[in-house]
Amino acid sequence: MKLTLPEYTTNTAFDELLDEAQRPRLAARPLFDYLDSLDAQELAARQQAVDATIMAMGITFTIYSEAGNIDRAWPFDPIPRVMARSEWTQIEAGLKQRLRALNLFINDLYNEQRIIQEGVFPAEVLTGSGNFRPQCVGITPRFGVWAHICGTDLVRDRDGTVYVLEDNLRVPSGVSYMLENRQIMKRIFPEVFRSINILPVDDYPAQLYQTLAALSPRPVKHPVIAVLTPGIYNSAYFEHSYLAQQMGAHLVEGSDLVVGEDECVYMNSIAGLARVDVIYRRIDDEFLDPEVFNPASTLGVRGLMRAWRKGNIGIANAPGAGVADDKVVYAFVPQIIRYYLNEEPILANVPSYLCMYDDQREYVLANLDKLVVKPANESGGYGMLIGPRATVEERAQFAELIRANPRNYMAQPTLDISTAPTLVDGELAPRHLDLRPFVLQSDKLFATTGGLTRVALRKGSLVVNSSQGGGSKDTWIVETEVKSC
């Protein structure tokens, strides 16, 4: 196993597995010992086996621009990303702290708005929010929790600090790939799991089930849970069916559900109408209920919001939870944590400039060549400007967009996000990556062990989204401390 040295010697980013002298970090040493035992031929054979496994397991994703092709094989890199348990424990505490605070924040916004009255959070940010749903005002869902499932994107900068890049509180996806990545690794590299103490990840479906079951309006032992999908052509359909299967839930589309005169939700079953207790919805707010939101929606269920308000159905994430999934709101999360929890944030936020404030906007406009500018309500890496890589014209166009709608934009310094060795043409080359752990909250809090590592497979690229040339790796949280006898 050879490192691609020219690429590694010029790599200025922090590498997850190798230190400055290109020696394996402590947590990664057993992995490299193992890799050293494989010759190039063996590794190539394993790589082929990985491809064949992905094909056979039918792990796929959909790219909307490729009409008709609904199953592209999932791009997977067999070299795992390794993190020491001691570091992960800190991160996990930070993730749970963050979600707890965000849920208190959302519930406050839809009720008393104390945080605004006390001047910690500006009213104009809320006014300009595209994801605030007036239809949800006055509601307190069970446990006061709105975002039951959160996918938090983390990156590491050159100095080794881990930053939260964004909190995905609407319909975050990717967890099924995290689970499948581990399955692939176990099939193709079974011996490594004997020699290295890698923490398991497969309790997620059970935890998700419990998180959802806790929302059931009926106090039954096995509440009826349905995963609501937009259908087979959605890019995350694979994940919807995967999670339904893993949880023993029904995979339903809007047309399978009806709200009865008793304002309960039912599904069309072969035995007639059957009551549904909890909906894990994988469609956006706007499409949930044509009676309240987009009237043209055929994906949702007429009357669903009435049923929810009456407490006759649990919905995760709650409609309106996306109000905190906004890149401008993001900038306030450290204050939000301090305000509600009276604690210092454990995880760092990337320093952010809000274009709604005159001084910060002027700074952003003057430094567009150094900054990354993001629209408040987009996801998937769309609509961004990466200043240092943009042309003069692109920057000028963006400056216009910012001036026209300052509330919609925020900017951050370009981070030199970390790399990890990735198999490229039979050698290991540094490729940039991020980490998306998934955090659950209802009556309890839970975080995945590690998460989904997404890697930009193109040399030098910082874009890890699978729709834009990204792949993924298995994520190992490993025990490094040796217990003394």
Binding site: A56, V227, Y242, A244, Q245, H250, N268, S269
Partner: protein
Amino acid sequence: MLARAAENLYWMARYLERAENTARFINSSTHVLLDLPPGAAFGWANLVEIAGLDSSFHQFYPVANEDAIMRFLIEDTRNPSSIVSCVRYARENTRTLRELLPAEMWERINSLHHYLRDHAHAACDNRRERYQVLNYVIEQRHAIVGLVSGTMAHDIPYQIMRLGRNVERADMTSRMLDLNSAVHLPQDNILHESITERIWMSLLNSLSAYQSYRRLVSMQVRSEAVIQFLLCDERFPRSITYCLAEVTSCLALLPRSQPLQPRVQQLHSQLGCAENLDTANLRDKLEQIQQGLAEFHDALTQHYFRAN
């Protein structure tokens, strides 16, 4: 169980059964073909007619010869009942049903789909390859049925699959029984009887029924006895009587199935197994059975999948 999921499951089972039976159907006709004496001819056009696909075939192919028919039945995706189409539809349905099926099921169907993508074309081109590929399809289909019956809970989703499988199987057995009519023997052929016997043997073989027939009925292969066996035998799992009994037992395990049960009884009496079987108008009887199965399918669809 969700009505939409039940319909997909029912069709998935039908598609898989159809893929297997189409493979058997083709194997059978290829065998018959090899046994034909000089002067006898095989009516290729009759073959698609027996399969109930003649109008769609003639829409795409000007001449009914072996090459065209093999393409049409094996790999042509314009034919919704070709083997490639059946497996593809079964796969698409499975994709929407993963939450109901054993996890390995998807992988099985998925790899069968990939296998056909790589081999279906060769199976159309030469007979040796065809035999191998079609047998592989049959084997994989058995592996899937084994997986389902051995690892899936035998509750409602399982019964729905069993229902689809047996409705489809009864239909296909009735079509295969008609295969004899595709062979045109010279009028004065003194070998007439022995040829007919050999055709029936090929047919039994292709249904994996020859051994059971010998054990349960007779060492002698005679038209009436074979017809009786495939229509009325209560022990052989591909006979129409057996399939209908399976359908009845599935219905007994499904909710609110009472309105459908008399229809199966009616189909059963249509077979005429209780009386002395009249094999003279076989063609008419087979068509009647196919019609009856189609009506049962429609009633089932209305009752369970379209109700609310």
